[in-house]
Amino acid sequence: MCNTEQQWIAEAKTGNKNAFAKLVEKYQKPVYSVCYRMLGTPTAAEDAAQEAFIRAYQAIDRYDTSRSFATWVLSIASNYSIDQLKKKKVTILSIDNEKHSWLAPPDPGLSPEKAALEKEKLGQIQSLLTDLNEVDRAAVVLQYWHDYSYEEIADTLDLSSSAVKSRLFRARRLMAEKWQEMQLPSVPAVHSTAKRITHETSTI
């Protein structure tokens, strides 16, 4: 943690909202990303990320500065998203891209073909995550997109390391099964993506 960040935290602890806003600015992307992967829609992700930062600000007095701020705030975001999923049973997307035009965040720099591919990828990801339970999904999100170790995931989700291992084991098995199902010829769009990814991985 850099000195500037420590200073922002210290100022936020005294009730300085502007100092905390700088922390929001710095960590908005990882927090939003976790919420988006967990909840599946930009609206829900925005709402959850905002709420996570509000809760973090309200609990800043209890924040232990020896711990990483990123881990702490991601922990709040993950747990809030888990609660939201449990409460509202947020519907994660099916792989039907046409029904979910929001899937690909609008990026004017991308060509229509690339944008369609990105959209398809996002659809695939959400489809894989749909079958996982809330906590398993959080563990997968933290490991794949945030490169968290088992210990860091355990710390973030308030689990033991062995529980995290067992959850990730189960999640990977479920996702692999789903992936294999998705490659069946009865789903041509998915099949083409799977083929392309197979080709991409073989060229790596």
Binding site: P42, A49, I125, F169, A176, W179
Partner: protein, 180 residues
């Protein structure tokens, strides 16, 4: 080695030493099930790692500030509302209680005053007498601390409390009689 061990290596993404890695490669060539599992986990990892990173719309922190202010205003309004309600209720209760007392006692004020003075005087006498009894007992008790004395003290205190309660009840009865 058992098939399950290879599955665990694949699914837990375990770091393998050279021998284990060789074992796994040999097994993958023989077992189509593990081969497809291995391929699927790699493809999923590749898909995840190469997916676009979702980003919030610009102005996220400004929106956070606005929302935070709204939350704080709502909280402040709630605190203020609760405080005002509690104070209002307490004031109303106090005023009605005082009003009732004043109305009831105003006609008999001299008698009530006299009763109160008598009661206070009686209490002073009683406490003095009590001190005369308790002081030597306490001095002796300090020298001879035994359970018997403790019980005696306990009973004495209970008796005093009883007497006090009786005197309170009596004073209330007198008050009621005066009112009626």
């Amino acid at each position: 080695m058992k098939h399950q061990q290879y599955e665990t290596w694949i699914l837990l993404d375990t770091e393998l030493d050279q021998d284990q890695h060789r074992d796994l490669q040999v097994h993958l060539k023989q077992c189509s099930q593990c081969q497809s599992l291995h391929l699927a986990t790699h493809q999923i990892a590749h898909l995840f790692k190469n997916s676009p990173i979702p980003e919030p719309n610009p102005g996220f922190s400004t929106r956070w500030m606005t929302r935070m202010e709204k939350v704080e205003n709502r909280k402040n309004r709630l605190i203020l509302g609760t405080t005002i309600s509690v104070i209002s209720i307490a004031t109303l209760l106090l005023l009605s209680s005082v009003g009732i007392q004043i109305r009831a006692g105003i006609a008999y004020f001299p008698q009530l005053m006299l009763e109160m003075i008598t009661l206070v005087a009686k209490w002073i006498i009683f406490l003095n007498q009590l001190r005369d009894i308790v002081s030597p007992l306490f001095r002796v008790g300090m020298k001879l601390i035994s359970p018997v004395w403790l019980y005696t003290l306990g009973f004495s205190l209970s008796g005093i409390t009883g007497a006090w309660m009786l005197s309170l009840i009596k004073s209330r009865t007198i008050q009621r009689e005066l009112h009626s």
